[in-house]
C-alpha cells in the first residue's frame, strides 16, 4: 500500500513524514519520528502507556491510525519538560516516588497534564477516576495519586504568587 505524506505538529514543531495510513500513531512517533516517550505496553488499548495529548484530548496512540492524525497537534511527555527543566508533574513524580520501573510514567504524566488542565483542583477521587485509563504494574498507584495532587497544589500556589 502506498505511503502518504503525513503532516502533524508534535511538541510544537511541524513535522512531515511518509507513512502508510494503517500505521498506528505510536509506531509513527517512535519509529519514524524517534519520539520514544510514549511506550507500547499492551498494544490492545488497555494500559495507557502509549497515551499522548492530541488536539486537547488524552488518547491511546496505539488506537489511532496514522491517517487519522493528519493535521493533528500532538504533545508527548517530551513536550512538557527536559532533564534540566522538569515540568512540575515530573518534579512531583520524582519527589513522591510516583514511579518504580518508570515504564508507565510518560503516559501517566501526559494524562495527568490534561487532567489538571481540565480540573486544576481535583480531589483524590477525581484523580483516581481521571487516571483510570493508565495501568501501573509497580507502584500500587498510591504515590502516583500523591504526586499528581502535589503537582496540582504547586501549580495553584505558583498561579496565586503570580497574581
Amino acid at each position: 500500500m502506498a505511503k502518504t505524506h503525513l503532516k502533524m505538529t508534535v511538541n510544537g514543531q511541524e513535522v512531515e513524514t511518509l507513512a502508510e495510513p494503517r500505521e498506528l500513531l505510536i509506531h509513527v512517533l517512535r519509529e519514524r519520528l524517534g519520539i520514544k516517550g510514549p511506550h507500547i505496553g499492551c498494544e490492545t488499548s488497555h494500559c495507557g502507556a502509549c497515551t499522548v495529548d492530541m488536539d486537547g484530548k488524552s488518547v491511546k496512540s496505539c488506537t489511532v491510525f496514522a491517517a487519522q492524525a493528519e493535521g493533528a497537534d500532538i504533545t508527548t511527555v517530551e513536550g512538557l519538560g527536559d532533564p534540566d527543566n522538569l515540568h512540575v508533574l515530573q518534579e512531583m513524580f520524582r519527589e513522591h516516588h510516583g514511579l518504580q520501573c518508570g515504564f508507565c510514567t510518560p503516559g501517566m504524566i501526559i494524562r495527568a497534564h490534561r487532567l489538571l488542565l481540565e480540573n486544576p483542583n481535583p480531589s483524590e477521587e477525581d484523580v483516581r477516576f481521571g487516571m483510570a485509563g493508565n495501568l501501573c504494574r509497580c507502584t500500587g498507584y498510591q504515590n502516583i495519586v500523591k504526586a499528581i495532587l502535589a503537582a496540582a497544589a504547586e501549580m495553584n500556589a505558583a498561579k496565586e504568587a503570580a497574581q
Partner: protein, 284 residues
C-alpha cells in the same frame, strides 16, 4: 498487531461520505472514533479496503435540546456527553451511563454514533437508547429515514442500517421522573457482565410509567416491555420489583463467556436490575 492495508478518505460533508460509501462498495466502512473498529482490525477480525473518516464533518457534531427533544450528532464523543450541561439537565441518565463506559482516554474519542451503530451487545448506549425510546436518523443514497432504537438491533453486529447508510443523529424526548444506569463490570475498561437502564415516573405513591432495558445479556440489547408493565400502576413494593425482575430475566438470553457461566449472569442481571429500579424510584 498490524491491521490490513486500506485507503483512507476524509470527506467534509454527509453527502460526500454517502457518495463515497456507494462508490467504493462493500469493502468500505466509515470510521468514527475507531475505538471498536481499530481493535477489530488489529486482530484482523475486520479487513477493509477503504476507510471513510467522519471526523471532518461538522454537521455530525453537537448536542441540541429543543422544547423537550434531545438531538445528538453521531460524532459527539462520550466525553462531550459527560461535559454538556444542557444534556445533564434534560437527560441526566446519559451522563450516568457515559461515565461507566471504558476509561477517560476511550471516552475522549469514542462517539455515540459508533457506539450505537457498532451492534456489539457489549456496548452500553444501545440498551439506554431502547430505554429512552430513541430514534436513529440514517442517511443513504435514497435519502433520510428514521428507525426506532427498539427496532434497530437484529443480531450481534447486524442492525437495520444498510451498508450504504450513515447514522447521522440520535434523538429522544427528554425523560421525566427517576432514572438509573447500573452496570456490573470486572474492572474499569471492561464491558458489562450485566447492565440495566431504568426510567420511572411517580404519581402520588404509585409508579405511573416504567421503561426497562438491559445490556450484554443477549446478542442484542433487551427492552423488556413486560418488566415495565409489572411496575406500572404498582406501589413499587418488593412484590412488584420481584415480578418485574422475573419478567426481565425471562426476556434475556445470556451466553457463557469469560465473564461467567449463564447461571451467574442471570443472577447478576437480577441483582443489577433490582438496584437500578430502587435507585430510579428513589429519584422519581
Amino acid at each position: 498487531m498490524i491491521p490490513g492495508a486500506f485507503e483512507y478518505h476524509r470527506p467534509e460533508s454527509v453527502d460526500a461520505a454517502v457518495k463515497l460509501l456507494a462508490e467504493l462498495g462493500e469493502d468500505s466502512r466509515v470510521i468514527a472514533g475507531g475505538h471498536s473498529l481499530i481493535p477489530m482490525m488489529k486482530l484482523r477480525m475486520a479487513d477493509m479496503s477503504h476507510l471513510i473518516d467522519l471526523q471532518k464533518i461538522g454537521d455530525l457534531k453537537g448536542i441540541r435540546v429543543d422544547g423537550g427533544t434531545v438531538t445528538i450528532g453521531a460524532m459527539t464523543t462520550q466525553h462531550e456527553l459527560i461535559e454538556n450541561a444542557a444534556l445533564q439537565d434534560a437527560a441526566p441518565i446519559m451522563r450516568e451511563a457515559a461515565l461507566q463506559i471504558a476509561d477517560p482516554q476511550v471516552r475522549y474519542v469514542g462517539t455515540i454514533g459508533g457506539n450505537v451503530a457498532n451492534g456489539d451487545p457489549g456496548n452500553d448506549m444501545p440498551g439506554l437508547m431502547q430505554c429512552l425510546d430513541a430514534t436513529f436518523t440514517l442517511v443513504g443514497p435514497d435519502g433520510e429515514r428514521q428507525v426506532a432504537a427498539r427496532d434497530f438491533y437484529e443480531a450481534a453486529y447486524f442492525t437495520a442500517r444498510t451498508d450504504e447508510e450513515i447514522l447521522t443523529a440520535i434523538s429522544f424526548t427528554a425523560p421525566k421522573g427517576g432514572y438509573a444506569y447500573e452496570k456490573q463490570k470486572r474492572k474499569i475498561g471492561d464491558y458489562a457482565t450485566a447492565a440495566a437502564a431504568v426510567l420511572l415516573s411517580k404519581d402520588g405513591d404509585r409508579c405511573s410509567a416504567a421503561s426497562i432495558a438491559m445490556t450484554n445479556l443477549s446478542d442484542t440489547p433487551v427492552y423488556s416491555a413486560d418488566a415495565g408493565a409489572a411496575l406500572t400502576g404498582s406501589p413499587l413494593d418488593d412484590q412488584a420489583i420481584k415480578t418485574a425482575v422475573a419478567a426481565a430475566l425471562n426476556d434475556i438470553e445470556p451466553a457463557e463467556d469469560n465473564r461467567g457461566p449463564v447461571a451467574f449472569k442471570i443472577h447478576v442481571a437480577g441483582v443489577i436490575l433490582r438496584r437500578a429500579i430502587e435507585r430510579a424510584w428513589s429519584r422519581a
